[in-house]
């Protein structure tokens, strides 16, 4: 089935349906690799993960082995981590610091700037062997926005800043937690597979419709710890008001009035009495620096931001950077980190990390149930030929604001997906 037939959109009829083949079919999966992942800006890592000349991290993005590192001038670089000789992975450690990168197979050695520095027995090569042409290759484009490093395999892509568009202001909102506007990735990576199509995690990451049912036990935990969880107002499904926003280019976000705790800076009993003055100090700093209105925006709203196609910034119980790599139509690998202000006090850092684990991650009180839901969906999609279509129409007949429990922002993702899949 061609991609154009997979998203059925008839605005006048209030119809918006996803053909389930989009989540199952291996041919669609292969097409996505070319039309989406080889054309969009993809998250590689954060500048704080490599700090000094020679620091490196290895990472796989879109099936490509990458070296995220600092060169001899301490500039951030991304190389394709494959030896120009036979293809071996040149740097085989997860992280570290290197003076040079030596391929263990035949000993070709590259310097920190990616130049081919030495080749054992070079004299056996013909005269046209040119070491200067055989440095480590770089992806077509590498650009960063406020510490977040992205690559693009398409040399003709628009700039990262243009690509992010209106999503950038939501990244800024996260970074406003930090007095210097700088956040860092904290030690410790959560890396796990989900046996589901990657687009299901896109949906799940900013679909708040599922909160009450999927995360019933998490809400119980909050309530039993002393957090006030209000009964939803009439016609609503959540304890607080929240919006779902289409930010263009497939990006989208929820934008919710906070009712759960936030390390910056909404204290809940789970954080302990000892943390109360510290959170008050953080809030006072926000107000002083940003003014009362912006401080409220930073501290009293929570937002799950999707950067199309596979990066999510969760600014809720903590801040999590989550990216996911499709491995197969029914499998993805998720990598998630905690992000915190560079100048955070030890106590605030402790609260941030502890609060993270109340909800997020493979051992949290909520994420495992999300994963169970996605895996259950994928299993259910086994009947995709008989049960072909999934409706995605919440909020569609409504004028004005779209709620976080509506599906306008999910539809925006799928429309961008369909546009790219149909593009020549």
């Amino acid at each position: 089935m061609s991609a154009s037939r997979l998203v059925l959109h008839e605005p006048e009829q209030h119809r918006f349906e996803i053909n389930r083949a989009a989540l199952v079919d291996p041919a669609i999966f292969r097409e996505e690799q070319e039309r989406i992942f080889e054309r969009c800006w993809l998250y590689v890592g954060h500048e704080s993960e490599v700090r000094a000349p020679g620091d490196f991290r290895t990472r796989t993005v879109c099936g490509r082995p990458l070296l995220l590192c600092r060169d001899s001038k301490n500039e951030l670089r991304v190389f394709l981590n494959t030896c120009r000789h036979r293809g071996t992975i040149v740097c085989r450690e997860a992280q570290g610091n290197a003076e040079r990168y030596t391929c263990f197979y035949h000993g070709w050695t590259y310097d920190r700037d990616g130049r081919l520095y030495a080749v054992p027995g070079q004299s056996a090569y013909p005269p046209n062997f040119d070491r200067t042409q055989l440095g480590l290759k770089e992806p077509s484009r590498v650009e960063a926005y406020r510490g977040f490093v992205f690559l693009n395999f398409d040399a003709n892509a628009v700039s990262l800043r243009e690509y992010l568009g209106r999503a950038a202001e939501y990244i800024d909102l996260v970074l406003d937690q930090s007095p210097s506007g700088r956040m860092e990735v904290i030690l410790g990576t959560q890396e796990y597979d989900i046996r589901a199509n990657w687009k299901l995690l896109v949906e799940n990451s900013f679909d708040d419709y599922h909160l009450l049912t999927t995360h019933a036990t998490w809400l119980d935990y909050l309530k039993s710890s002393g957090v006030e969880v209000k009964r939803p107002e009439k016609g609503h499904v959540l304890p607080s008001h929240g919006l779902g926003k289409d930010l263009g280019n497939g990006h989208g976000t929820t934008d919710n009035v906070n009712f759960r705790g936030r390390p910056v800076a909404a204290w809940i009993p789970i954080y302990g009495e000892a943390a109360k003055p510290e959170l008050e100090r953080i809030r006072a700093e926000l107000v002083l620096r940003l003014g009362a209105e912006r401080a409220k925006r930073v501290a009293d709203t929570n937002r799950n931001l999707l950067i199309f196609p596979n990066l999510v910034l969760l600014d809720g119980s903590s801040v999590s950077v989550r990216s996911f790599q499709p491995l197969a139509p029914d499998r993805m690998r998720v990598r998630a980190w905690a992000l915190g202000p560079v100048e955070e006090s030890p106590l605030a850092r402790q609260v941030r990390l502890d609060s993270f684990l109340t909800f997020y991650g493979p051992g949290g009180f909520a994420t495992p149930d999300d994963i169970a839901a996605l895996e259950s969906v994928q299993e259910g999609l086994g009947a995709y030929k008989e049960v072909q279509w999934s409706p995605l129409t919440r909020g569609m007949a409504k004028e004005g604001e779209q709620l976080n429990t509506d599906e306008a922002h999910l539809r925006a993702f799928w429309m961008q997906w369909a546009r790219l899949m149909q593009a020549a």
Partner: protein, 159 residues
Amino acid sequence: MSEIRRADIEDFLYQEASLLDAWRLDEWLALLTDEATYRVPSNDQPQSDPKNALFTIADDIRRIRARVARLKDPHAHAEFPRSRTRRLISNVRILERSPLVVEANFVIYRYRANEDVRTYVGRYRHTLVMRDGALRIQAREAILDSMELASLGTVSFIL
């Protein structure tokens, strides 16, 4: 009190394992002190401190109890229907006597509906204390050997 021997530790760890495998979680809770902690470090930082590193699990006793309450609730979807687990414990060593720190290797086989076995391999590091003449857990850490969780997926059961 006579000197604690490795066999005493083995008996205790086997008992703990059998309670967890049988999902007798309230009885398991009774093995913990009121100050107990339960930790699973991130796979890439097996030796770190939850004060400054992201863990998979870093519970104090309140959250351990909340975790058990959650797991007993059929709305804990990740464990409904429950995983079946079977723990094999070996290489038990007493590392320190005061406080009493013990380590043991574990293999935990986890079975869920419609899928192959998931095998969690690693070591336990327990700090134990004597309370009312019985061993109790003051701190337990489960350190996984795998480089990342990858196909192990979640740690929604008690490791």
